[in-house]
């Protein structure tokens, strides 16, 4: 599903060039469960931003569903994000003035889904994540775990092909964190590609495929507890 071909992302800081991603090639199939780990500044977030079409590579080709997407214009990329990619953030990024229901409804409105269908889809996803009774609460009336579940509901409601999670448990206590992971893995079992960026080794270990980044390069790509040779 995802095909990265010799991708580099170079930032210019002052006069210095920083290679956040250095010639990375990577394939991720539909329905995979991948964790991306590595020390700070290793390029994890940059990789996630690239995968989510929030950023463009300096060099290389990114193909999504066999279609080169990194060269698409802003509007076409926005459309792909809207329809195929779900994001889950460390700090939830819920809109504070909207209720849980309205936060989840937002991507459907953006996709032009009619009101009746929206209501039905939002209810069913909130129900499946166990927060239907919180539908009319605003984010400040919800606990951290509930907020992240609302955020996940918002990502899932458009039925994306992949879910990109950036430290999804980074701002939660252990129990809520585990609940959130349960939900994400459950969705993965139903066929959703799940890509998690994390510092937390316990969380990272759970993934069937573990990618380790250092200095913008993939230094480890392990599948099924079995070390795979480095792609180079």
């Amino acid at each position: 599903m995802i095909h990265l071909d010799h991708i580099s992302r170079i930032f210019t800081v002052g006069t210095q060039e920083v290679r956040a991603l250095d010639d990375i090639s990577l394939d991720i199939g539909a329905g995979e469960y991948v964790s991306i780990m590595g020390p700070s500044g290793s390029g994890k977030s940059t990789l996630l931003n690239l995968l989510g079409l929030l950023d463009r590579p300096t060099h290389g080709i990114y193909k999504l569903q066999n279609e080169p997407v990194s060269s698409l214009d802003e509007e076409q990329q926005a459309r792909i994000r809207r329809e195929q990619i779900g994001f889950v953030f460390q700090f939830f990024h819920l809109i504070p003035r909207l209720t849980a229901f309205e936060n989840v409804e937002l991507p459907l409105s953006l996709n032009g889904v009619i009101k009746e269908e929206r209501a039905q889809r939002v209810r069913s996803i909130l129900d499946s994540l166990g927060i239907l009774d919180r539908a009319s609460h605003r984010p400040d009336q919800l606990s951290g775990g509930q907020r992240q579940r609302v955020a996940i509901a918002r990502a899932l409601v458009v039925q994306p092909a992949m879910l990109l999670a950036d430290e999804p448990t980074g701002n939660l206590d252990r129990r809520s964190g585990r609940e959130v992971i349960d939900i994400l893995e459950d969705q993965n079992r139903k066929g959703l590609a799940l890509i998690v960026v994390t510092h937390d080794p316990d969380l990272g270990k759970r993934a069937r495929r573990r990618i380790r980044l250092e200095d913008g390069q993939i230094v480890q790509d392990i599948r099924n507890d079995q070390t795979l040779p480095l792609e180079q």
Binding site: D55, A78, R82, H93, R97, S109, L110, G112
Partner: protein, 400 residues
């Protein structure tokens, strides 16, 4: 995103910051409100002035003595001015299209009657005055037809107020009164007519023009008012008057003032008045616009992370622009609407407390004011909305 959803989303943002939004909108509200009230008063003054000038009928023109001209030869004979006479007035009566003429002389006199005395305005006039100015009689009759010539009898008609002052409710008909020492017989009393631009027509006494000229030792009339048929063209009529007057005076030593001209002059004065009123309102609207500009900038930087989220959810920069623009427009137009409501009710309240103040609400201005408010929101919103649209998604998402 459908327009309806987009609008609802903007509206939600505005409602979420009620206090802030309403304070910002207040600038626009005050601007629109003042424009509404001031234009209402302006409109009212205009209607008032026009009706003041047309209350005697609209088909009247005046012939006044003298003409403003600059001559090449100082003190030459051609510069002399002949007085307007009663004979001139009689001659004008024969111009085709003319229905009636009223000679006019005005002055201040001492009137004694019923053992009382009062200083009042004396108006020397002719028999057709009530017909021309639409005056009605309360008692008796107006000056007889011979009052138009040089052999008029010493008779007088009292204004309603003068009658009250001198006679109370007593019938004055046939009574003899003294005006500056001369005796006149009271023929009638006029019904109240009110004031024209502060001049009380009811506190006046009316006598034949010839007598007033003798009384004030005047050679000529102060003016002649001509009532003409509504079907006559002003142009033809003026031509006819010129012909007669030139034949009698030999030169154009008089001025014809048509009501159209008078209203034109008034109109241009009032236009300037309205313009300055609009200027005052405009200044407060600009202040309001700056308020909206500021608040939208603040909203954009406060909601940076929300903008990042919207971008991640697949909202195009263009839609972000429209979102913030429509928020600014929303605040401005709500402020404008409130301004309209306050302005209209303010106008009505003013009318209740100051009934004399002429107020007329012009719906055209109201619609215009609201359109201006919307436009102001649009203009004030553009810069901050562009900033929002241009924001870097990753940076925005990183912002707390």
């Amino acid at each position: 995103m459908s327009l309806r959803d987009l609008f609802l989303f903007s509206l939600r943002s505005v409602i979420a910051y009620k206090m802030r939004a309403s304070l910002t909108a207040l600038g626009i509200t005050i601007g629109i409100c003042s424009v509404v009230i001031l234009t209402s008063i302006g409109e009212g003054i205009q209607t008032y002035v026009v009706s003041e000038f047309t209350q005697f009928g609209t088909n009247i023109l005046g012939v006044n003595p003298g003409k403003k001209t600059t001559m090449g030869i100082p003190g030459a004979i051609i510069g002399s001015v002949r007085p307007l006479t009663l004979d001139d007035a009689q001659a004008l009566n024969r111009v085709s299209g003319v229905l009636a003429v009223v000679p006019a002389v005005q002055g201040n006199v001492q009137v004694e009657g019923n053992n009382k005395s009062r200083r009042t305005t004396l108006i020397g006039t002719g028999s057709q005055m009530p017909y021309v100015y639409k005056f009605e009689l309360a008692l008796g009759s107006f000056l007889p037809a011979d009052s138009d010539g040089h052999r008029s009898r010493p008779v007088a008609v009292l204004g309603a107020k003068l009658w009250k002052e001198l006679y109370g409710s007593k019938n004055p008909l046939g009574d003899r009164i003294r005006i500056s020492g001369s005796r006149y017989r009271v023929l009638g009393v006029l019904k109240p007519k009110g004031e024209i631009l502060g001049f009380d027509l009811d506190d006046s006494i009316y006598i034949p023009a010839h007598h007033s000229m003798v009384l004030f030792d005047r050679e000529g009339l102060m003016g002649i008012d001509v009532l003409y048929s509504p079907h006559a063209s002003t142009k033809e009529l003026t031509k006819g008057i010129h012909r007669v007057m030139l034949a009698r005076h030999g030169a154009e030593d008089y001025t014809i003032v048509t009501q159209e001209r008078m209203l034109e002059t008034l109109g241009s004065i009032l236009a300037i008045l309205t313009l300055s009123v609009a200027g005052i309102g405009g200044v407060s609207i600009i202040v309001g616009a700056i308020g909206i500009l500021t608040i939208t900038y603040i909203a954009v930087s406060e909601r940076t992370s929300e903008i990042g989220l919207l971008r991640a959810l697949g909202v195009e920069p263009r839609t972000i622009l429209i979102l913030f623009l429509s928020e600014a427009i929303c605040v401005a137009s709500l402020g404008g609407l409130l301004g309209l409501v306050l302005g209209i009710s303010g106008s009505f309240i003013l009318k209740v407390f100051i009934p004399a103040l002429p107020i007329a609400i012009n719906w055209y201005y109201l619609v215009l004011a609201e359109l201006i408010a919307i436009f102001v929101g649009l203009v004030a919103g553009i810069l901050p909305a562009r900033k929002a649209a241009k924001m870097d998604t990753i940076e925005a998402l990183r912002t707390e």
